[in-house]
């Protein structure tokens, strides 16, 4: 009897949790669909009236509408849980995006990306550490900023926070700085990419290497072109795969100083931190490479991935809260801005150099 009550309660709780996601997910869908409708309406109008007008992608509209709604409208709390699922849609979208890469492409593209990722991670860690020390930031805050900018933004900071036992204030500063810089990169990267006439491939590689959060890297790539978005996701996925190794290194460093718990099983630690959606991405890619899906089915999978990203982009706009970002400290933000600008220049140099060797 007691067991059935417990199971019943658990089911009811689960059902309640899932139901609680619906309003926010519907809001993401409405914003995403509005963005698509605006893009198609403008394109249809300009074509019908023979007006030359640059194609403004749905990605930008979704982010802009999300920003307006998130910052100007006081959204009821019932929307929050569903809005927070944007990261879930991002990961599902990346797994489905595997359908657009044959394994051979991943090996070729991934090989170049991985090489550049190693250089980027090393350079970003050194740069951020040097800047943080120069500005007199607390050591663990420097580590969080370095990990966030070198690997994968907020996820890396959250993963590192527990491992190095950083305090809440430091991780909030680091997360706010990374989010603010991600929002700036959405505007700056496509403009710079077009201004210096980067190829789709070169730009995608740059966005994947330099933009910290996966959602912003995906959006920054897609804002340039569909092809650039694909490459940005692949490159960013390579960076994400490194999260465990970098966090493990910092965790061991702080454990040796006696300021964090010791790491027992290192393999288990790496597996815990490894982003599992990377495996899903490879499985889907392998299935397509082996001919498990026909051309029409591959197109359907690619389109499902686009729908998932559409919800993500709406969420990126909604969660970019100007009030929260403006409350962060000046010093961590200054270090973040300086570091990110230097990393963007470094990675742009890497991409231009790689382009000369491999003709990307």
């Amino acid at each position: 009897m007691a067991t059935s009550v417990t199971v019943g309660d658990a089911r009811q709780n689960a059902l309640w949790r899932v139901t609680g996601l619906v309003p926010g997910i519907l809001l993401l869908a409405v914003i995403g669909l509005a963005a698509k409708w605006i893009e198609q309406s403008i394109n249809g109008y300009t074509k019908a009236h023979h007006i030359v007008f640059p194609n403004i992608e749905y990605v930008l509209w979704a982010i802009v509408i999300g920003l307006i709604v998130g910052n100007l409208v006081r959204l009821p709390v019932i929307f929050q849980a569903g809005i927070d699922t944007y990261e879930f849609w991002l990961k599902a979208g990346i797994v489905l995006l595997g359908s657009r890469f044959l394994l051979g492409d991943i090996l070729k593209l991934g090989g170049v990306s991985l090489l550049l990722v190693f250089v980027e991670i090393g350079g970003a860690l050194l740069l951020m550490t040097a800047l943080g020390r120069a500005f007199g930031l607390r050591p663990k805050l420097i580590n969080l900023l370095a990990i966030g900018s070198a690997v994968c933004g907020v996820s890396a900071i959250i993963a590192a926070k527990g491992a190095i036992e950083a305090d809440d204030e430091d991780s909030s500063f680091a997360i706010a700085a990374i989010l603010a810089l991600g929002a700036i990169s959405l505007v700056a990267f496509p403009l710079i990419g077009h201004a210096i006439h980067l190829s789709d491939h070169g730009y995608g590689l740059w966005a994947g290497l330099a933009v910290d959060n996966t959602a912003e890297a995906t959006a920054a790539g897609a804002l340039f072109s569909d092809a650039a978005g694909k490459v940005a996701v692949l490159t960013k996925t390579c960076r994400n795969a490194m999260i465990g190794f970098v966090v493990l290194g910092y965790a061991i460093y702080w454990a040796r100083k006696g300021q964090a718990g010791a790491i027992g099983n290192k393999a288990a630690f790496l597996w815990t931190k490894f982003p599992k959606f990377v495996l899903g991405f490879l499985v889907i890619s392998a299935a397509v490479s082996l001919g498990a899906f026909n051309a029409d089915q591959v197109k359907s999978l690619a389109n499902l991935s686009r729908w998932a990203f559409l919800l993500t982009f709406a969420g990126v706009g909604l969660r970019t809260n100007s009030r929260v970002l403006s409350r962060q400290g000046l010093k961590p933000f200054a270090v973040g801005v300086l570091g990110e600008v230097l990393i963007a220049v470094l990675t742009l140099g890497l991409v231009v150099g790689a382009n000369r060797i491999w003709v990307l």
Partner: protein, 46 residues
């Protein structure tokens, strides 16, 4: 350590039912791929 770890787990593993968000995303993607393969989902519009 304990309070930090608990908070991180709560944030990262917010998928529920003992699965992380990553695994839930992978499961959904595989389910959609299976539906496409079986012909339940056809000609997905974009």
């Amino acid at each position: 350590m304990p309070e930090n770890t608990a908070e991180v787990k709560a944030t990262v593993g917010k998928g529920g039912f003992g699965l992380s968000l990553d695994w839930w995303a992978v499961l959904l993607a595989f389910l959609l791929a299976a539906l496409v393969k079986l012909g339940v989902l056809q000609h997905v519009w974009w």
